[in-house]
Symmetry: C2
Subunit: 160 residues, 2 copies
DNA sequence: AGAAACCCTGTAGCAACTAAAGAGTCAAGA
DNA sequence: TCTTGACTCTTTAGTTGCTACAGGGTTTCT
């Protein structure tokens, strides 16, 4: 099947499929004389695997690890368990952080019961207060299962 | 004070301060003869406001709205309340999604009680199952208060 | 004077896509 | 056969909020 068919079969964007091929998650496939990609069932299954992992908010690096085991059926899957445990830990941590953030935001919201002029808005005044930056250090602490700080961790290494 | 001092005073990276200036969040400031930026207390306060908002995971666009009200003390702050309500809604939604994700992941984790060869790993096999992609549509659904889909929403508009 | 710390601008990169430009291919219908 | 519209291709750029680096200038202190 052609790329559009594969996209439909797996609920994926055509562009995303090409992206996964560039990223090495999907092996390159044969082409027609007109240079169109031709996929078989194996590719469809692999893509479904990848999409399933993405739906669980795993990073592409995590997925690469899982694919490695998928491709090596005799390998011991202990690392798969560990990876999942770690990922679950990330999610739990993120939930805790978001809960904390929710409480802060609600507290802040309560400072302005009814609209008035901005100068007397309890929210704006609280935001302007020095030393009111919350418990954690600042931006990026409440994103996904993989916060931006985690994403950024590899930047230095990558440049090396 | 110079940029390094401002950075220390507000717990911000120097580069981030320059970034905020480029992004229009911080007004440009006067310079020394040697072209060093010179900041006063007003800038320090504004930056603290911004950082406080960031610590609450507000986007820079949201912060721009709040700054507009901060700069217009006679304006009615109803929109501030609405913005905060919406932001709180985003956080609540994200918490719900993460909890759902957590349940899914734990269910998946339970499929492999002890490490064995990958071919018989309940986790890998479940991930490979067709039609197992979870309730939501795929990637990007469980990130921060502002999911990746939200971030991406403005791409089309920006290109115009 | 020299060295170290600081500052500047411009550019690139991170993750995981997504969009657009410009061009080629294919299939169906006139 | 020709036309047209859908599909495909590659390449490049962009999203968010930073962060890092290159290369060079300025300031401070010894």
């Amino acid at each position: 099947m052609k790329i559009g068919e594969l996209a439909k079969a797996t609920g994926t964007q055509v562009e995303t499929i090409r992206y996964y091929e560039r990223e090495g998650l999907l092996p390159e496939t044969s082409r027609t004389d007109g240079n169109y990609r031709i996929y078989g069932e194996a590719h469809a299954q692999r893509l479904s695997f990848i999409r399933h992992c993405r739906s669980l908010d795993m990073t592409l690096d995590e997925i690469r690890v899982l694919l490695r085991f998928k491709d090596a059926p005799t390998e011991n899957c202990g690392e798969v368990n560990a990876l999942l445990d770690e990922h679950i830990g990330h999610v739990a941590a993120r939930i805790r952080e978001l809960r904390s953030l929710e409480r802060q935001l609600k507290g802040l919201r309560d400072l302005c019961q009814e609209a008035q002029d901005a100068a007397h808005c309890g929210i704006l005044n609280e935001l302007a207060r020095q030393g009111s930056e919350g418990g954690s250090s600042a931006a990026g602490h409440v994103h996904g299962a993989h916060g931006r700080s985690v994403e950024r961790k590899t930047m230095k290494d990558k440049r090396k």
